[in-house]
Amino acid sequence: MAEEVKGQKPKGKSQKAAAESSAPTPQPLAPSPSSLITIFVMGEAYQVPKDLTIMKAMEYAGFKFIRGCGCRGGFCGACGTVFRTKDSYKLKVGLACQTVVEDGMYLTQIPFYPANKKEYDIAKEPANTQVLVRFYPEIMRCIACNSCTKICPQDIDVMGYINAAIRGDIEKVADMSFDCIMCGLCASRCPAEIVHYQVGLLARRLYGANVAKKAPHLAERMKEIKTGKFEPGLDKLGKMTEKELSAMFYDPKVRDVEP
């Protein structure tokens, strides 16, 4: 992590000793050979330190990610990983950036899964009970096998929201699917070839755009902006010196803080 700085360092003295070492210590984390375990990446064995995430372990093993790595923080769904552990028939799943390696882990990433997405004009779609089925009629083919829920790394009740979609309960689908990071693992397992996360996404957009009430104060503010209400004030602020602004900023009578 801490690459050596190759540039010419300035000669100037540092301001304060205390600040010299504000970076976290120690760094980087050195793996000790005794803590190495074996993982299998697409069938090949690699020795890696035991406390790493799958993502860091693969990098340690020499992989440089192009696909299969996006945010590195559990938000983007690029790093869905399927694995088995020693002596278990069970297929397990996790995000490579969030799951810690185990000895004997036998894994592959599924960085991409072909999905179909419908096109729509969200403003024009009525948020009725038919709309989800109309765009994604295949949801009716769900056989309630629960494979989608079992594989979801976000622990979402995926089958539950597909059921709600079949009933046309947009609000429920929107709410239940909210934590979806669109990793695609559910779609990879579904015998009915449903692309769950597209259904959730459509429901959330419909809910946000056409079910939830529009914010009244926002509409009000937009009207005020259109009449130019704030222009004179902003003109004045824009011309102020740093000193004048600072005086206003630190004056609790001018800039009181809402509790």
Binding site: M1, P26, I66, F75, V100, D121, G208, R255
Partner: protein, 549 residues
Amino acid sequence: MYPQNMQESIKRLDATREARIKQAKIPLLGPEPKKELLHGFHPDYIQSSMRALTVGPNKGDRTPHEIADVLEAWPIVNPAKFDTEHPKFDVDVLIIGAGGAGVSAALVAAAHGAKVLTVTKLRIGDANTMMAQGGIQAADKANDSPERHYLDVLGGGHFKNIPELARALVSDAPGVIEWLEELGVMFDKDPDGTMLTIHGGGTSRRRMHAARDYTGAEIMRTLRDEFRNQNLELIEYCVAVELLTDEHGACAGAAFVNLETQEHFTVRAKTTIIATGGCGRLHVQGFPCTNHYGATADGLVLAYRAGAKLAFIDTIQYHPTGAAYPEQIFGLLITEKVRGVGAHLVNAEGNRFIYELESRDVTASSIIRECKGRGLGVVTPTGRLGVWLDTPLIEVLKGPGAVKKNLPAMYHQYERFGIFMDKEPILTYPTQHYQNGGILIKDNSETGVKNLYAAGEVAGGIHGRNRLMGNSLLDILVFGRRAGIAAAEAARSAVLSEAKDLGFNHVAAFESELKSAKVPVERRSPMLLPEYRRDEFKTPFPFAALGCE
């Protein structure tokens, strides 16, 4: 599960909770104590961490070594290998980078009738925008106003912000929220539609709008879905490695390499928008970072070589609360929203030491002071230091279940490691988070280079020396949209030079500067992707086939 020594400190924290709830509010710091704290403990004030640039438009300006190392560096590809006479695409508006700024620019430019092409490093939405949790600011409530917002923005930026940019930011803010509402972003609302807004560090009104703690993800996936609905042209896994300029030095597109196939090609464009985001993966001063995998300052490098001036490149934002434990998520973000909904920052002894919602530079400095200056940090098994965020307090203040309801993403992240943040506190330490400065723009997102625009985290000047939470998600949409409009309009009247007159003259000129400044030839940029493999696996140049050895 926390180890013994940490559990002991947790007991002290539990013991002081009652008293802390009753404790009077810790007052905001005045200008003098603030200055003293920053100078003593903020990483930006460590003089030896920076150097003055020796080449380019910002020659003489100081910047962290890690940024200087990519700005003062040789190209990674040999321009001669690119067939500039036969561009693969010919478009009105080229957008580099498909995060929030790029995608909103694309939507708006297309709506203004431009033929738009978006090219991005990883997938569309593999971007810092996807990771934002806390929220987005806009002064849209009756007790608030754009003027107030302006004053907060400037106070946060130490009054150094460029006034016209800050003004554009606050003036467009309500319009951005309205746009998102229409696109179907699920903001947290009351049943009557009133936005549930909270404070962020440095706000004088509750103006932080959120979509649970997936605000950025919710915005990004909605914009991405709309982008796909509009069938806009997109190329993924291709990186911009150099801009293309005409005989007068105006920008005329860019050169790309496909990361998967190493195919290399050029795009000729009447106008170009750089929306490549931030620089967390440079790991300034060895800090961990909160950013996505592709945040490597490429846009700064490309624009700098073409002659664009940068602003405020000597200031980096360290988020006060990065995860300090467990090691697996070290440096990842603990959203400010945790403090926004009431969690206290508490030292090893169980005491508070700062008002939690000071601006980020101040709060981060206070944590560093607690750990390194006063010896009141909690030590982890790997020897790292941190202070507590008292998250169980949220349950006390807001009722049982409040943590899970307000912070589902955070809860989930810790739960994976056996830490239940509704019952136990979490340990934090500052982490590199945001690039406060960047390519200097005007209020229509124009840069100093003709026909080149910049929007989003890559741009600089809006936030002065320090950005407040919630103003970046706002900024990428305000300036993404402004860039989209300006670039589409400029494209209407722009006359493109013949393909044979396009090329990389600016790169050649920059190279001669590098040569006289004796910049070592091994130093190359843009970085494109950070290197986390062990030394024996490292390759010096990513595209050996493209002429640089």
